[in-house]
């Protein structure tokens, strides 16, 4: 049985471990042949910021994982246009190619999925 699964990311990276855990869950989810989309809203858009360097905080830099998603057929990545604007982020600041959605398109996206995993 295939379900349309939306992984909803709302938190900044490193401050909490949700971003890291979301990556793990997405990769496991892909092994179950589910229809996977990732959505980044609120501070979740910061997860995709380029140039993360965790040397001095001595934590693991997990941001390269986003570029590896394609190999796992995880190809639908969406970000909120409004969240990007409020945070002064441009598409070129992001580590991967994403589709930028308006808030009303995001409402529709949530609507059409079978299940939402909240991180």
């Amino acid at each position: 049985m295939i379900k349309k699964c939306l992984y909803l990311n709302r938190r900044a990276p490193y401050g909490t471990s949700y971003a890291l855990e979301a990556i793990d869950t997405v990769l496991i989810g892909s092994a179950f042949d589910q229809d996977i989309s990732l959505l980044f809203i609120d501070d979740g858009v910061f997860q995709l910021k380029r140039d993360q360097d965790t040397t001095d905080v001595e934590m693991k830099n997990f941001s390269p994982a986003y570029s590896a998603f394609e190999m796992y057929d995880v190809e639908k990545l969406y970000v909120s246009k409004e969240a990007m604007a409020a945070r002064g982020l441009k598409k070129r600041d992001l580590i991967v190619d994403v589709e930028v959605l308006s808030d009303s398109a995001i409402s529709d996206l949530m609507d059409e999925h079978d299940v939402i995993f909240s991180f």
């Binding site: 855990e21 989810g29 299940v115 995993f117």
Partner: protein, 130 residues
């Protein structure tokens, strides 16, 4: 209806571990099936049998264990989160070369696949977290 419940926080610090328990019990009382309760992130800390809360307070781990016994529900602790936080059963203890284990009765340790599989074969995922 078949439910999967996800619990992201440990006991006492956040009410969300209490809310998850109250919801799970109410769903069972209502006659629904709880396919699985999945303890993720700090939620794995619900599964220690070493907790000794004050006499006048609730015992969160014992409450879950009792619910599992009474209703035969599947309490799964995420293995990766549990390893990071020091929650383990006897077989994990041996595998990891540790000298003690602390998993409460009625809980088992398994992978994130159990969450995904649960979601695929259930009707509703309800997440409790901070």
């Amino acid at each position: 209806m078949k439910f999967v419940i996800q619990v992201n926080e440990g006991p006492y610090q956040h009410q969300t571990a209490d809310s998850a328990y109250q919801f799970t019990r109410a769903a069972l009382v209502r006659g629904h099936e709880v396919l699985r309760v999945f303890f993720y992130h700090d939620g794995v800390n619900n599964g220690t049998r070493l907790a000794s809360p004050p006499q006048d307070d609730r015992n969160v781990a014992k409450r879950w264990s009792a619910l599992a016994t009474e209703h035969d529900i599947d309490l799964v602790v995420c293995v990766a989160a549990a390893q990071r936080r020091g929650i383990l059963d006897e077989s994990e203890m041996k595998r990891l070369g540790k000298d003690a284990h602390n998993l409460a009765p009625g809980f088992r340790i398994s992978g994130l696949g159990q969450l995904i599989e649960g979601v695929v074969f259930s009707d509703r995922l309800v997440v409790f977290g901070d």
